[in-house]
């Protein structure tokens, strides 16, 4: 068994196990940590696939950014050791059935399909190419989405502020009046 196969098995087992744990763990903070493991393992896969840049992005943005955000919010909204009662078994079973059927359906359909690789030469993925592509305006250039995403980020920022901004005393007064 080649080393990459072993790595793949390792990563995939980690991903699957921790994914399942993420969605089943009763302790929310643990779930967040499991998620972190999943994301890290995924970035491992990316390394395997030779997408170092993306793996880095994954680690910093996802693992470093989002998970931290999540953990902060958990801390804001829950007690650390708080246990959540598990959901009703009905819900679990039906959801599991739905997810299983969906997964089976997808897998069967995927396996059914004959993938055919292109014959064109693979491109070496290096930072230069990525940078060029990101700033290119032509075919296969990604400057436009890059720009749009900036708008999105701005908007998201403003949005988050609008929602989460502390209620001003005046508004709070109004709120009291309403309730």
């Amino acid at each position: 068994m080649a080393s990459n196969q072993i790595m793949f098995i390792l990563f995939s087992v980690m991903i699957v196990v921790f994914s399942v744990l993420t969605v089943t763990s009763r302790r929310i903070l643990r779930a967040a940590v499991y998620l972190l493991f999943v994301l890290v393992s995924t970035s491992g896969l990316y390394f395997m696939l030779n997408y170092q840049f993306l793996a880095a992005v994954q680690l910093t943005l996802y693992a470093g950014g989002i998970v931290v955000l999540i953990i902060f919010s958990i801390l804001l909204t829950s007690h650390i050791s708080q246990n959540f009662e598990s959901s009703g078994w009905k819900k679990n079973i039906f959801s599991a059935i739905a997810a299983l059927i969906g997964a089976l359906l997808s897998i069967i359909t995927i396996l059914d399909y004959k993938f055919s690789a292109t014959t064109e030469v693979a491109q070496e993925v290096n930072m230069k190419l990525i940078g060029k592509s990101l700033l290119s305006t032509g075919y296969d250039g990604y400057v436009l989405p890059f720009e749009i995403i900036s708008v999105l980020l701005l908007a998201a920022m403003v949005a988050a502020i609008v929602v989460a901004k502390k209620v001003s005393p005046k508004s709070a007064e109004l709120q009291n009046l309403k309730q």
Partner: protein
């Protein structure tokens, strides 16, 4: 790439500029001046709307990622008009004390969603499309939760953002299948390489479900009612008209240009979901008391009718959809405008509260009636023409059964629209909504809506223009 080519992106650029100007104004204006920020935004947007109608070059830039054509410009203009009306309607609401300190955010976020929609419509690549669609929905989730002191508003926000995240996931999964089987994400290339294999259909259906969510097509519609009810009225009207309209446009474009190969599949799909959508939407609408919720279900069933224009994949279908959306913009905004006016003035949103409204506020009642008749497709208002063309488009391809079901559904819908009319005109009330004078902006907005409702139908030129810009599979 010359600077001139940016003119092709005129709509988006103008909007981004506007958004930034609003931001700058918010940051640098003094508090006194800030009171004028809503008027400033309004004027800004009005100018943009007008500029939007100026002739514009067409073509595709960024290597085909961004496509501009007459049809797409038209769609953007329609969205602009709708947004303008929403803006005008919201002026009065924004003056309320609890909203004063976040006026500019309101405009900024709405404009940025509009940017997202415009990119979405002009997308020639799934990436642009995806980012556009996210940009179009994420800020709205925040706006849905705009009323920070209201539970319902927060609930609407969370329901919207989580549902939309799930649907994005599904959508992405579909796109990944499409990518995997064709090796490209450019629309025109996908169209050429797409086939009729199981995996591709799977990908298509996942993609379709994601889009169906945005248009609130059954069974992906369940978020709609709650979000519509919980959001501030103006956001609801924006969601129900502009968001939905934009999603319809892009779904139609994608179906027509990217997936013509599997037309048989999506026709069947649309057949099934449109029957479901119309019927379920109507069945739920019958029982609603809250007008926003009521209009939510009504708009679900409207989405079902709209699908009739898509199913044929014909030029007439596209024309009728664009036309219908235009009509729908006026009609639904008219209805929401009245709801907003009354909700903001008296805080009443239930149908029962409208009992005897005609006797105290005849003008509002008339606007509401016309708008509802237009939604129901009653002549001589524009909705009649819109529906007629939709049905014609479906019938052209032989979907008579579907047309029949749709028309039967319009009867159910007529029933509940008439319930509102009944409340306003016929029912008696001991405590009717007192007579009040709505502010000037509301009146202007409603005036525009009424003019649109009445004129869009009779002025055949509008339909002809749209028709000439439309295309089929």
């Amino acid at each position: 790439m010359s600077l001139g080519t940016f003119l092709i992106m005129r709509h988006e650029l103008l909007l981004i500029t506007a958004a930034l100007l609003v931001l700058i104004a918010e940051l640098f204006w003094n508090p006194e001046k800030k009171k004028g920020i809503s008027h400033f935004s309004l004027i800004l947007f009005g100018v943009i709307t007008i500029i939007g109608f100026l002739p514009s070059p067409e073509g595709s830039i960024f290597g085909g990622m961004y496509v501009s054509s007459g049809t797409r410009l038209l769609m953007k203009n329609i969205l602009n008009i709708g947004t303008l009306i929403v803006f005008i309607q919201s002026i009065g609401w924004l003056k309320k004390e609890e909203n004063v300190e976040k006026v500019s955010e309101y405009f900024l976020l709405l404009i940025s969603t509009l940017v997202g929609m415009n990119f979405m419509i002009s997308a020639g690549h799934f990436l642009i499309f995806y980012i556009g669609i996210e940009l179009a929905i994420i800020p709205i989730a925040a706006l849905a939760a705009y009323d920070r002191y209201k539970n319902k508003s927060a609930e609407a926000g969370i329901k919207l953002i989580l549902s939309s995240a799930l649907s994005s996931g599904i959508l992405l999964y579909g796109i990944s299948m499409i990518y995997g089987t064709t090796g490209t994400l450019y629309f025109n290339e996908v169209a050429a390489l797409f086939g009729n294999t199981n995996l591709q259909i799977l990908g298509f259906i996942f993609f379709f479900a994601g889009m169906a969510f945005k248009i609130s097509i059954v069974p992906f519609h369940l978020w709609t009612a709650d979000v519509y009810e919980g959001s501030p009225v103006n956001i609801t009207s924006y969601l129900s008209v502009i968001s939905k309209g934009a999603s319809v446009f892009i779904l139609m474009i994608i179906l027509f240009t990217v997936f013509p190969v599997i037309i048989a599949t999506w026709q069947k799909t649309i057949f099934v979901v449109s029957v479901l959508t119309m019927t379920i939407g109507n069945l739920f609408a019958i029982r609603q008391q809250n007008l926003k919720r009521f209009l939510a279900f009504s708009s679900i069933s409207q989405a079902g009718y709209i699908l009739l224009g898509m199913i044929g994949g014909n030029q007439l279908g596209m024309a009728s959809i664009i036309y219908y959306i235009l009509v729908y913009v006026f009609s639904n905004l008219g209805a929401f405008g009245v709801v907003a006016a009354i909700s903001n003035a008296k805080g009443k949103e239930n149908i029962d509260d409208y009992n005897g409204l005609y006797h105290t506020n005849p003008k509002l009642s008339l606007v509401m009636t016309l708008a509802l008749f237009s939604l129901a497709g009653i002549p001589p208002v524009a909705g009649f023409f819109g529906k007629f063309f939709l049905f014609t488009a479906a019938a052209q391809k032989g979907f008579y059964l579907l047309v029949f079901i749709a028309v039967l559904n319009t009867i159910i819908s007529l029933y509940y629209y008439l319930l509102v009319v009944k409340a306003m005109f016929i029912s008696k009330s001991d405590t009717p909504i007192e007579s009040f004078k709505s502010d000037i902006s509301t009146r202007i907005a409603l005036g525009i809506c009424i003019a649109g409702i009445v004129l869009t139908g009779f002025a055949s030129i509008i339909f002809e223009v749209i028709r000439n810009l439309s295309f089929g599979v």
